[in-house]
């Protein structure tokens, strides 16, 4: 985790360097993320901070997040790492300042740190005793994003594989909308 924060610090530092030498296309500018993000909820943490990359044609996006659920909503604070990928086929620019990604559809996978969660079944269980790891969760979502100059806002309506299994097996008692929940986020565009 410390290494990850150190890396984030380095990238931030490089942004300042680039600002002083805008024409220099050095290695830092190339690996620098396109944006920095802060997300609320969405099953990847109460608050998550992340960095995002965008493909040259603007249709493919990838994010990495560090998420935190504070101790108020867990036995101990939950620290987690998330990889998110999304496809946004409908992008429109209005005036010069406003861009809207009308559809972001994507998947994420979230890994929670902590010894009481497992990825591989501990050896005091027989093989296949539990068919799922508690440490890893997979999610899917759809949403939209709007950009105004350097700033952006987005929402995602998402679910996880565990919610889907519960819903599919109980379509009469669980309402369709109960499977879904929301994440909202703030974006600062770096380039």
């Amino acid at each position: 985790m410390q290494r990850f924060l150190f890396f984030l610090g380095l990238t931030t530092l490089s942004v300042q360097v680039d600002a002083q030498q805008p024409k220099t296309q050095n290695i830092w500018h190339k690996i620098m993320p396109n944006n920095a993000k802060l997300q609320y909820a969405g099953n990847i943490g109460m608050f998550s901070v992340g960095a995002g990359y965008v493909s040259p044609n603007q249709k493919w996006k990838g994010d990495v997040f560090y998420g935190l659920v504070p101790g108020t909503y867990a036995e101990k604070p939950i620290h987690s790492f998330t990889l998110k990928g999304k496809y946004s086929p409908i992008n429109r620019t209005y005036n010069h300042d406003i861009q809207v990604n009308w559809l972001n559809a994507g998947l994420w996978t979230n890994y929670s740190f902590g010894s009481k969660y497992f990825l591989k079944l501990p050896d005091y269980y027989d093989k296949g005793y539990y068919y799922f790891p508690t440490q890893l969760n997979i999610g899917a979502f759809v949403g939209s994003e709007i950009r105004y100059q350097k700033w952006g806002l987005y929402y995602e309506v998402g679910t996880t594989e565990k919610h889907v299994i519960n819903y599919v097996k109980n379509m009469s008692s669980i309402n369709f909308h109960q499977m879904w929940n929301i994440g909202i986020g703030l974006v600062y565009h770096l380039k």
């Binding site: 909820a41 990847i44 659920v69 036995e75 987690s80 109980n170 929940n181 994440g183």
Partner: protein
């Protein structure tokens, strides 16, 4: 000319629409601890205390309701059709959830809150996954407790030894011994724990001592369990009964009739 603001307005208008359409909108993690209710077992026990105690009564037992909310919903409807004169309360044999996840405890609550009888339960092995054990303590309460109805005492405890890697802490036999010793004046003792002492997920090094604690009490009548998902019935020579309650997924439950010191067990379907 104010085109650019229109889209910001649209966006702001869009959000509450989604917020309104989803229940429990903002989930922080599958592992989060935010149960919808708290202390359900103690609330049910308080309701049982309000009932007029009888020497002849019946109670129902369900178990392993994980990922079976449709079947649970139907059980609630079925049980609500039964008379309060014939049934005193309901017991739950554990495994409320499959992943020990907060949202599953809440799905359970959505159904069980409609049940007209008080329901008291024990913790299952699945309920201990992730932060499930911590959620359980908030949502339902203590893992070890007793309650009484008339002359019958109910002893509820955690028997999911494998979840703690057989470290000797589960089941809590010193507590069990002390508890049953304090219940000698009762006509009947009924035990409720998720995994039966005969199962390999129960710490077999503790099974003999458990058996002795229970069978040394002449008022011990019945040991109720879940976990294997199938109905099992076994009676010792002294007439002490071990019963495994089937999963609610099979649309089946157990009814126990108590007549003074005689307990009769029925496997029922709905």
């Amino acid at each position: 000319m104010h085109n650019k603001y229109i889209f910001i307005k649209w966006f702001i208008l869009f959000l509450p629409l989604f917020l309104g359409s989803c229940k429990r909108n903002f989930q922080y993690s599958v592992l989060e601890v935010r149960p919808y209710e708290n202390d359900l077992n103690n609330k049910a026990i308080a309701a049982i205390k309000e009932l007029t105690p009888k020497d002849t009564f019946s109670f129902l037992v369900i178990s392993d309701t994980q990922i079976a909310y449709d079947e649970l919903q139907d059980f609630v409807e079925h049980a609500n059709g039964l008379s309060e004169d014939s049934i005193a309360f309901v017991l739950h044999g554990g495994d409320y959830t499959d992943y020990g996840a907060n949202f599953e405890y809440n799905f359970y609550y959505d159904e069980i809150k409609k049940l007209k009888f008080p329901i008291v339960g024990t913790i299952g092995n699945h309920d201990m996954l992730g932060n499930g054990r911590y959620i359980y303590r908030k949502f339902l309460g203590s893992e070890e407790f007793t309650f009484e109805y008339g002359n019958t005492a109910f002893v509820v405890f955690n028997s999911n030894s494998r979840e703690v890697a057989f470290d000797g802490s589960i089941p809590n036999l010193p507590w069990l011994e002390q508890t049953v010793n304090s219940l000698k004046q009762k006509k009947n003792i009924v035990y409720l724990s998720h995994i039966s002492p005969q199962n390999s997920d129960y710490d077999q090094r503790m099974a003999e001592r458990h058996k002795n604690i229970v069978l040394e009490q002449s008022n011990s009548r019945l040991s109720l369990h879940g976990h294997t998902h199938s109905y099992e019935y076994y009676e010792t020579e002294g007439g002490f009964k071990y019963v495994v309650v089937p999963t609610i997924l099979k649309r089946s439950y157990v009814k126990v009739d108590v007549a003074d010191t005689t307990l009769t067990v029925h496997e029922l379907f709905y």
